[in-house]
Amino acid sequence: MAVVLVVEDDAFICELTEMTVQDWGHQTLSANDVDEALEILRSPQHIDILFTDIYLKTAVVGGFELARQAIKMRPHLCVLYTTGNFVTNDMRALFIGDAECIRKPYTPRQLQTSFEHLLAAHS
């Protein structure tokens, strides 16, 4: 069982994702923007995976900044980005460490596979 922080500006997608992830036996936390997410990351709450949208309403590439700050606080955190936009090489250059990225619309199976990859790489 892992703890997943889902950061998604669309509340409906956020909830659907949480339900999907909970079905696999994981625990979820959620935030709709960078500030909310940072508040959770600053708390003593254990977190294994940060699953964040790159394009957040309040910040065009807020997901990158969030992941950068999150890794400073928690160097062993797994990071999985998602986006509906093209992932260019310039964007890839902003990925932290061994982070992965999953394009929208992703199926539950694609999401599960990405989680498994990340958890295996960090175990």
């Binding site: 669309d10 409906f12 997608i13 659907l16 994702t17 339900m19 999907t20 079905d23 394009y55 065009v60 986006t83 509906g84 936009n85 093209f86 394009r103 929208k104 619309p105 992703y106 199926t107 539950p108 199976r109 694609q110 596979t113």
Partner: protein, 475 residues
């Protein structure tokens, strides 16, 4: 004895032979400006003879053609006060030889015991050289006036990157004077905005390697202009017959164009974000239906997820093709396959999908039904061809005349000939294929029963001939 003889020989040579062989016209005048002697070059240049010349007063010579105000100034005002005069220029219309520019060097020569001395005039015809210089100046002024009419700022540079000239547009836009640019290094201008190592490197290769610079982009804050984006183009320029070459550097202000591109990109990203979020919701809702649905329907729901993913991929390509560009079919199919493999097969699947396509471009307007057609055919193969979960599907696109032929071949169990009434979901897949082929104006070719597995061949009039210079979109 030998020495005095030797000196005599040298004096004799100096007085006659040397004078006769020098290319400049020489005249020797006494203190009253009478000509005592002249050399051969003088007679040839001014088409006269020793008889007409020697003993004459210089102003009387050849119908007074030497009675020139500037020569009078030299002989009467300058020479009496100076021992030598060099480079005195006389321009005059000579009756015998026409308009000429002469360069006169004068020297007063004294013999021992002779206090008056005489004047040696060396006259060189520099008319052609001066005409060439005037022509060059005229050409330069003409070039500069053309340069000044060009709206884009430009400069001409020497090998060492110093500015020879800057166009009016350059001076106006960057708010500097001509004097401030001439002889200054281009990298020192303004706040050293052009001093970019990559640009320096390219510019240093323009002249020695004759390598032009095309569209080097620089974005910076310019005094009085604010933030600007310039495209720099440079090329070697040289005049015919002139061994020296210089560099023409043109600055194109593309700030507005860049801003429009950025706005368009922001808008595309925003729309893409919204659409993909909506598609994500649909995929999420289907995922929840899958959990509550009886097993036979699950594959149908998953196929629906694959179709939605295909539409998402297509949306990306279509949004990119908004500039009317074509879509590279090879890259396009690979993206569709990637998406389909992820949603329908998963990483552990024994079924593989390969793309073997020629480098062809298709019409972006009809890429959506084409992508959905490929998706349906491949989905059908995944669903029916491999009951043991292992096999290979090959998607091939090739040009046949002026149409493209799409082949979807699998090495699976093949279509059962005695299937009378396929299930409604299977029929649906085939129906979709028929609809998309009809929409695209294509033809389904007869199956090839002798081959193992199933091969579907469809010819489609989707080929797009690109105009020269247009680039297809890589997915």
């Amino acid at each position: 004895m030998t020495d005095s003889f030797g000196k005599k020989v040298v004096d004799d040579i100096a007085a006659s032979d040397i004078v006769e062989t020098v290319p400049s016209a020489l005249l020797v005048l006494d203190r009253d400006l009478h000509i005592t002697s002249a050399n051969r070059a003088f007679y040839q240049t001014f088409r006269t003879s020793a008889e007409e010349t020697e003993g004459s007063h210089i102003y009387e010579l050849g119908n007074r053609q030497w009675d020139i105000p500037s020569l009078r100034t030299l002989l009467e005002s300058v020479i009496p006060h100076r021992a030598t005069v060099e480079g005195f220029e006389v321009e005059h219309d000579f009756p015998t030889i026409g308009r000429r520019t002469m360069l006169v060097n004068a020297r007063k020569i004294f013999r021992p015991g002779d206090h008056d001395g005489f004047i040696l005039l060396a006259i060189e015809d520099v008319s052609e050289e001066r005409a060439a210089r005037a022509e060059s100046k005229r050409n330069w002024l003409l070039t500069k006036s053309i340069v000044d009419t060009i709206r884009d700022p430009l400069v001409v540079l020497e090998h060492d990157m110093t500015i020879v000239t800057a166009s009016k547009a350059f001076l106006t836009i960057f708010g500097i004077t001509e004097a401030e640019t001439q002889g200054r290094g281009v990298f020192e201008l303004g706040q050293h905005q052009w001093d970019v190592p990559a640009l320096r490197d390219l510019m240093e290769r323009v002249l020695p390697e004759n390598k032009s610079i095309e569209n080097f982009e620089i974005e910076d804050d310019f005094p009085g202009l604010g933030r600007r984006v310039f495209n720099l183009n440079a090329r070697k320029i040289s005049q015919p017959g002139n061994h020296t070459s210089r560099m023409l550097l043109v600055f194109e202000d593309i700030t507005d164009r860049k801003q429009r591109e950025r706005d368009a990109l922001t808008l595309t990203n925003e729309i893409s974000h919204r659409i993909k979020n909506n598609l994500q919701i649909v995929v999420g809702l289907i995922a929840f239906e899958v959990k509550r649905t009886a097993a036979p329907c699950v594959l149908g729901y998953k196929a629906m997820q694959a179709r939605i993913s295909a539409i998402a991929e297509l949306y990306d390509l279509i949004s990119q093709s908004s500039h009317g560009r074509a879509i590279a079919v090879d890259a396009y199919l690979k993206e569709i396959v990637k998406s389909m493999s992820a949603s329908l097969l998963g990483p552990e699947s024994g079924i593989t999908i390969e793309v073997k396509s020629e480098a062809l471009d298709i019409d972006p307007e009809r890429a959506v039904p084409f992508g959905l057609l490929v998706n349906e055919l491949a989905t059908n193969a995944i669903k029916h061809a491999f009951p043991d979960g292992k096999g290979r599907i090959v998607l091939r696109v090739q040009r046949v005349g002026d149409v493209i032929e799409l082949t979807v071949a699998d090495d699976g169990v093949g279509i059962k000939k005695n299937t009378v009434s396929p299930k409604i979901t299977e029929r649906r897949g085939a129906d979709y294929v028929a609809i998309f082929v009809r929409q695209l104006g294509g033809t389904i070719l007869a199956a090839e029963p002798e081959k193992p597995g199933t091969t579907i061949r469809i010819r489609l009039p989707l080929l797009l001939v690109l105009p020269e210079g247009a680039e297809p979109i890589a997915a």
